[in-house]
């Protein structure tokens, strides 16, 4: 099937099988490998991207379901050479180690701050509770998002 998906502001038209997962569309068709995958069951959240501005797990969305919609990936966060506040926050507060969960965390953080510019610790923890991190014990991810709120 032919699909047209707007990714990071640019429309991409591709011929795909209906079964192609959105995460593979992004990684394999568009070579946007910043979006990772870590499980098959929508538990780990490392595949999180924004679909029409809302974070979703792209391993559980078919590319055909995103036809005509807008997707934002980690590659779309930096604008005109300027890092997004969440990217800066994660760098400043050591919010990442291996970096594998980071893109998904950044996209959820961006969404959270768009809706709630100054979230408290509990709100942040709840917002990222569907995304696993094996390195940071979440401490510095929470701090990074708090820092991003100040930037």
């Amino acid at each position: 099937m032919q699909v047209t998906i707007t990714v990071n502001g640019l429309p991409y038209t591709r011929e795909v099988e209906p079964r192609l997962l959105l995460v593979h569309f992004l990684r394999d068709e568009l070579n946007l490998t910043g979006t990772h995958w870590g499980c098959d069951t929508s538990n780990c959240g490392v595949c999180t991207v924004q679909l029409d501005g809302v974070p979703v797990k792209s391993c559980t969305v078919l590319a055909v379901m995103a036809d005509g919609h807008e997707v934002t990936t980690v590659e779309g966060l930096e604008r005109d050479g300027e890092l997004d506040a969440v990217q800066k926050g994660f760098m400043e507060c050591h919010g990442l180690q291996c970096g594998f969960c980071t893109p998904g965390m950044l996209l959820t953080a961006r969404w959270l701050l768009d809706r709630e510019p100054h979230p408290d610790e509990g709100t942040i923890r709840e917002a990222i509770s569907g995304q696993l991190c094996r390195c940071t014990g979440y401490e510095n991810i929470v701090k990074s998002i708090q820092r991003a709120a100040e930037l």
């Binding site: 070579n31 980690v74 050591h94 180690q97 291996c98 696993l132 390195c135 940071t136 014990g137």
Partner: protein, 790 residues
Amino acid sequence: MSFGRMHRKEDARFIRGRGNYVDDVRLPGMLHGAILRSPHAHARILSIDTSAAEAHPKVRAVITGQTLAGLNLAWMPTLSNDVQAVLATDKVRFQGQEVAFVVAEDAYSARDALELIEVDYEPLDAVVDARRALDEDSPVIRDDLEGRTSNRIFDWEAGDRERTDAIFAGAEVTINQDMIYPRVHPAPLETCGAVADFDKVTGKLTVWCPTQAPHAHRTLYALVAGLPEHKIRVISPDIGGGFGGKVGIYPGYVCAIVGSIVTGRPVKWMEDRSENLMATAFARDYHMSGEVAATRDGVIQAIRVKVLADHGAFNGTAQPTKFPAGFFHVFTGSYDLQAAHCEVTGVYTNKAPGGVAYACSFRVTEAVYLVERLIDVLAAELGLDPAELRLRNLLKPDQFPYTSPTGWEYDSGDYIKTMRMAMDIAGYDKLRAEQADKRARGELMGIGISFFTEAVGAGPRKHMDILGLGMADGAELRVHPTGKAVLRVSCQSQGQGHETTFAQIVGHELGIPADDVEVVHGDTDQTPFGLGTYGSRSTPVSGAATAIVARKVRERARLVAAAMLECSPDDLDWQIDESAEGRAGSWAVRGDPASRKSMQEIALAAHSALELPDGVEGHLDAVTVYNPPNLTYPFGAYICVVDVDPGTGQVKVRRFVAVDDCGVRINPMIVEGQIHGGLADGVGMALMQVMAFDEEGNHLGASFMDYLLPTSMECPSWELGETVTPSPHHPLGAKGVGESATVGSPPAVVNAVVDALAPYGIRHADMPLTPANVWRVIQGDPFRTDLAIP
């Protein structure tokens, strides 16, 4: 900046989605592999029919054990001198074992083709419970090994049995406790995988693979595949977490290599999450029975331990050769004992191989859990506060270096100071008062303590090797004419931030900005030999190598500086100027500090036409190999506070205080991050992570729906403290910290929960302390956490 909180260099790519993990590697003409796995835990393979899969239009090759047998590759050596099937030929021995490998034009077609392979199995009885593995009527799993008539792998002991038994015979008080450290999995968020590219013309094999030990992999591939080692290049790209699960060689890697050799095209293989949990290295699975002998006033005299170690179907534990139970015999912990003895029996079961993985420091994890649980059981027996009991028995600063009853030489420590700091941060006495109030109201609150001593940085080559490869690490340092440096090391970051900390070490030693140092790692064609990153060994071994190679460069610079300043090298002093811009190092004439040459000036001169004295080579490059004289022994005191809901058994970790002493901290920000992660591991293992098996050997934790990892909601905000007792033998005084918190935290959580349950007369409960488990423990009817819940 040299040592200190420097932001990480590697973050610039990760926050932009520009990391390069193995699944991001794409090569022209690349094919995709997928593995067919056994649905049975134990079964004879009667036949495999691959014809339908081969007929799939996008399939390029189907490889079975028989194909591999023809190449003499059906079996491969493990890291413990056993063999493991690459693809099963005779039997399958665990659920999820590799049976066939399909290579297709794309990953989806490879998966489709797996469904077209027909395997006829004759199911056999499975050995699931390690405690039954040695029963007379237990099926023999490894009938491939000649002469094997039981599932016993080894019996091993350490310590002084006679002396220990004698102390027990005369002891005023003895306690004993059985406990399981259940089978868990490191579960890095990136699964394992490989891209293999064999160039038939040059005979060169390149393997991209997220390995924690690229050089060891290269040598093993040479041994397994019979390829000349100089024609093998292993590239370990960015790794999405390792935690010990990416040390060994998995059958999928070998299959990808064979697939590339057979098809003449690059082959990528990526396992899915279920494959990762079912077939790659598990950790722990220790069934322990411990005893303590003590005086009535709480002086611990001796510890005696028996262990049944479940190694799965192939003995693939990754630890130094001489130690089949890893460093478990460091189980006397942080205490001053007269004697100790342990016996460990390793057995085969119908489960995946592994055992040493998951930030365990070669089984110090199991040892610390054992001793820290035993101390609490003893405290309950004696009616003593567990903090007080520990304070009475902790080693004193003047006892270091301390030789333990099982032969370890602890390098340095000031344990009581660390313990006191943890108690102060926690407000220990106040917590006990709060607990007393709550208990009076029928509420369950628990305070758990763990004091651990780690043994990391393997290790001295006279004692430690893996498959004959000594555990020394090389380092190469090049200083370019403009004073910028490139460090090449063998260790491999999986998130530890080596590109930053190792640059800081070089910057510190050479007096140049860390930003001027590039760290090259993860490519065997570009780095010197070394055994990799696991067992918290990067800073203790490769970090030491880095400091020493930088000091060699500094000494070479001294000779050049002497030529520049026309003086004797002996008349020069190394001078460091700290400023806001950073740390500038120079060689200066003694008594005339204005006459000096900076490292940048020296570097340029070393590459220039400057006439150098006889015997002084030009340039500043240096190489070294560091063979550690001893392990390093980081330690720490952890205090966990929990609340337990008696009606549901739910546990909430309210606070967690961690005071770590890992010697000198190169980058405290990174050290704290490592500790945070390990603490979350401890909460996970103590409360939810477990891989149990039903009686047929079905894996009951084969996805993230069933193998639960802690989220941001289960983790409290960690409260850290720090003491610094430098290692006397490490050139920087550093000790390694990567695994400390994973080792030290589980007993703190378990001790807290058991403490909360003390009003019920409970002294022990096995991990994981799920709501169901806690409730059943309260009812006095606990279940085996490593088996299916009946």
